[in-house]
């Protein structure tokens, strides 16, 4: 993997009509890297991806691919592949002809075309179903055909728009592994758009978290998971209890205050995962509003003077009833120290 920037967006602004979807976005992807664009629906991740593909025009800013400005290059000459969330297979063409479509446009000679399309089908394990129409294939099979169709023309950059979101859980895991194998094997640069935090963490070399048209944090998967920098990323990564921090203590949505843990910084915010909250002893007190059994653990929602706190205990630990007031602790050791909410 080379460290050179392969795809670079600078100051990219995108919108539909009067609405600005993405504003002043900067991001870069290195050659051969798999980067996930992660965010809730409406955060601008799909819009960004469509702009990279050339399907929508940039209002401002630049898109550079391999050192060349492609901001004004039409979509069909960008050499950027896209796997659609809906797969977007051509309904009147067989699996083979779907895959061969791009090769035919490139006037690849017949023998080579058959070899390459056949190899692409084989690489996704569907060489036996070449003659089937899309409607005769299962969702997972259609997904693979879409992948083979996008990859067979060897695009410089492959974009994937939530490609696994329409598959069931088991198939999703299987395809995730397959995608990773294909990406590593062929060294394709991929930008993977998803709202599924687990998928992004499992697949990507780097994760870009987006919120409301802006980038919130860019880091490798482990850093994002362990050290989110903002309240938004923290919540996305499962730190469900987030409090703002100042000299007076921890502040939540209720306006009340909890004493900050010793050694905490004087500004920013702190966040805890449910398993990072100590329940049963500690300096604070909270009343249990709800308890829900979740298999190996029981989740508790506590009302505290600063706002709700989410905690959990192993299922075999003694249970606490709803309405009971119990002590708890928010230790600095298990907290994520955030720059801002």
């Amino acid at each position: 993997m080379s460290d050179a920037v392969f795809l670079r967006l600078s100051g990219l602004t995108l919108g539909y009509g009067d609405m600005i979807a993405v504003e002043g976005l900067d991001l870069s992807v290195r050659r051969g890297e798999l980067v996930a664009l992660l965010g809730p629906s409406g955060c601008g991740k799909t819009t960004t991806m469509r702009a990279i593909a050339g399907l929508i025009e940039a209002r401002a800013g630049r898109i550079e691919l391999d050192g060349r400005d492609i901001t004004r290059v039409p979509a069909n000459r960008r050499d950027v592949g896209l796997v659609f969330q809906s797969y977007a297979l051509f309904p009147h063409l067989s699996a083979f002809d779907n895959v061969a479509f791009g090769l035919r446009l490139r006037r690849v000679p017949r023998v080579e075309l058959e070899r390459r399309a056949g190899a692409a089908l084989a690489s996704v394990g569907l060489d036996g179903l070449a003659a089937r129409l899309p409607r005769e294939l299962s969702g997972g099979q259609q997904q693979r055909i879409a992948l083979a169709r996008a990859m067979v023309v060897e695009p410089r950059l492959l974009l994937l728009d939530e490609p696994l979101s329409n598959l069931d859980a088991r198939l999703r895991l299987e395809m995730r592994g397959e995608l990773q194998r294909l990406q590593r094997g062929l060294g394709i640069t991929m930008l993977y758009v998803t709202h599924d935090q687990a998928e992004a963490l499992a697949l990507a070399d780097r994760v870009i978290v987006m919120r409301a048209g802006r980038i919130e944090q860019v880091d490798d998967a482990e850093t994002i998971y362990a050290r989110p920098r903002t309240g938004f990323v923290a919540r996305f990564m499962g730190f469900e209890t987030v409090f703002a921090l100042d000299a007076g203590g921890l502040h939540g949505e209720t306006g009340g205050v909890l004493q900050a843990p010793a050694g905490a910084p004087a500004a920013g915010a702190l966040a805890w995962r449910p398993d990072g909250v100590v329940l049963g002893h500690g300096p604070h007190r909270g009343r249990i509003r709800a308890a829900s059994f979740g298999g190996a653990k029981v989740e508790y929602l506590l009302d505290t003077s600063a706002g709700p706190v989410k905690a959990e205990l192993p299922a075999r630990a003694p249970r606490h009833g709803v309405g009971v007031e119990i002590p708890f602790d928010l230790p600095l050791a298990t907290a994520a120290v955030l720059e801002r909410l």
Partner: protein, 258 residues
């Protein structure tokens, strides 16, 4: 009880729909001298007589050519319009949609009169041109509607997929959109052809000396000759239409698209 009533309702509707057709066929097959139902004896003499009537031949050819040409023209206009309406949020798209359906709402006889008064007479348009214009205008809404229905079933992102694989917009349309709305286009063609072939109200004003369409000629014929040959011809035209629809349905199952 409810079930019996339901069956009765269905039977009544069927009689209402099929009844006139049976009357016409019966009257055409009569052995007598005047159209009658039930027929007085069965014979093919009036069917044979149809082919002997000189004055039906020219109008038959006119009607065929007209139906073919007008339908093609309506599709040439209607397919791009249907495509634009389904794919782009056009400014005033709703108004355009309404305007496009106006020939289907305004009585055809009014369309015919308007064309005669404001185009044919002032411009001295030849009869055949005027007929062509009127028929094509009346068919555009059907073309837009039927083709539009099959476009609705087609995901727009398959065109984007084709473009990203290297196709131009136009290429994507011909390679990916057109093959998938073929059924809708054929259905629109058949509906258009049949409705043009059977068009009376607009043609009434626009046929002129020496040039007439078959239905208009049939009307004229009936005015001075009251014999069963018109009934026989009507039955032949209806059977021809049914045959076309039946073959198309068998071959393509096109009416799934409408």
């Amino acid at each position: 009880m409810m079930r019996a009533l339901g069956r009765l309702a269905i039977a009544l509707v069927l009689i209402f729909l099929v009844g006139p057709f049976l009357v016409v066929i019966g009257a055409g097959l009569t052995a007598g001298e005047v159209p009658a139902f039930p027929p007085r004896g069965l014979s093919l003499r009036w069917v044979e007589a149809v082919f002997a009537v000189e004055s039906f031949r020219g109008p038959f050819v006119v009607s065929l050519v007209l139906a073919f040409g007008a339908t093609l023209a309506a599709l040439a206009l209607g397919v791009p319009v249907a495509y634009a309406l389904s794919r782009y949020a056009l400014p005033g798209g709703e108004a355009l949609r309404t305007l496009l359906f106006s020939p289907a709402i305004v009585p055809a006889i009014v369309v015919g009169l308007a064309l005669l008064r404001h185009l044919v007479v002032p411009l001295g348009l030849p009869v055949l041109h005027a007929l062509f214009l009127a028929h094509a205008a009346l068919l555009v809404p059907y073309a837009v509607r039927v083709v539009g229905a099959s476009l609705e079933h087609l995901r727009p992102d398959i065109e984007e997929a084709a473009v990203l694989l290297g196709a131009s917009r136009a290429r994507a349309f011909f390679a990916v959109v057109l093959p998938n709305i073929r059924g809708g286009i054929l259905a629109a063609f058949i509906l258009g052809f049949i409705s043009s072939f059977n068009q009376v109200p607009a043609s009434l004003f626009l046929t002129g000396p020496g040039v007439s369409t078959l239905p208009i000629q049939m009307l004229a014929y009936m005015e001075h000759t009251y014999d069963p040959s018109v009934a026989a011809l009507s039955a032949l035209v209806a059977l021809g239409s049914i045959a076309v629809v039946f073959v198309a349905e068998r071959a393509l199952g096109i009416f799934r698209y409408v």
